[in-house]
């Protein structure tokens, strides 16, 4: 009977979790474009500054943003990809008006003249504010990007289940 069952109250289910659980936001950073990366890091730093716990999950082209810039790849294809799509947050260009790197140079110049934080500065700020950075194991395997070529600020290399766990606990999840 229903009465015989003891259904735990939400408090009991929560166990030792403190009364005011910290709010969370999680994001998939799929893009390796400069402009989209700016958006991702601005939201991440803003959320962390507002007291939220932030997790950024970097996958595919987004891995470029957390690579140290060294060459990658072990197979012929992997090495070719590592050369043509070299990682490093300084190497990413805008999604429009890149013009073989001219756009990247122009954007950087314009952002500097308007006193906007650069991508490396934003990433450093995110780290200082305790933003958690996770790298996607599968895309690292496919693109032959070893863990040693990621920046040391990366907290974890993980898969989709780790991201789902984070997003389940989050108040909002973004895909950028």
């Amino acid at each position: 009977m229903a009465q015989a069952l003891t259904i735990p109250t939400p408090d009991e289910q929560m166990g030792e979790i403190p009364q005011v659980a910290q709010k969370k936001i999680s994001m998939v950073v799929f893009s390796g474009d400069m402009d989209k990366a700016m958006a991702a890091f601005i939201i991440a730093t803003g959320a962390a500054a507002s007291g939220l716990q932030v997790t950024m999950f970097f996958t595919f082209w987004g891995l470029k943003l957390i690579q140290d810039g060294n060459r990658t790849g072990s197979s012929v294809y992997g090495r070719a990809m590592g050369a043509m799509n070299r990682g490093g947050i300084d190497r990413v260009g805008p999604s429009k008006f890149n013009f073989l790197g001219l756009g990247r140079w122009m954007f950087k110049k314009m952002m500097r003249s308007h006193n906007v934080a650069s991508l490396p500065e934003l990433r450093e700020m995110a780290t200082d504010l305790g933003v958690k950075m996770i790298a996607c194991q599968m895309s690292m395997d496919v693109m032959e990007i070893p863990k040693e070529t990621l920046i040391p600020e990366v907290d974890q290399v993980a898969g989709v289940a780790a991201f789902i766990e984070e997003s389940q606990q989050s108040n909002s999840t973004l895909f950028i």
């Binding site: 601005i42 730093t45 803003g46 962390a48 500054a49 507002s50 007291g51 939220l52 308007h114 006193n115 906007v116 934080a117 934003l122 700020m125 200082d128 504010l129």
Partner: protein, 79 residues
């Protein structure tokens, strides 16, 4: 403009989003509950963002206003 003598003052003039909010949040980590931070800024976005930040973090916005191009605000640490 000044209602309370602030414990900390920041100059955020010339800085754009998200730096003002980040700097305020970083400064707040060093403050005690009840302390007041006063800052000046120039980005008009601050007029919307600092009140929003105060609401999200549960801190008290004492005042915010603009004279000419300079925005001044005071926030008290509550949490």
């Amino acid at each position: 403009m000044t209602i309370t003598a602030p414990e900390v003052t920041l100059n955020l003039e010339g800085m754009l989003c998200p730096i003002p909010v980040v700097k305020v949040a970083q400064a707040f980590k060093t403050l005690e509950v009840g302390d007041v931070l006063e800052a000046t800024a120039s980005d008009p976005g601050v007029l919307i963002d600092i009140p929003a930040w105060a609401r999200t973090t549960g801190n008290e916005l004492i005042s915010i206003g603009r004279e000419e191009k300079v925005i001044t605000f005071q926030v008290r640490k509550v949490t």
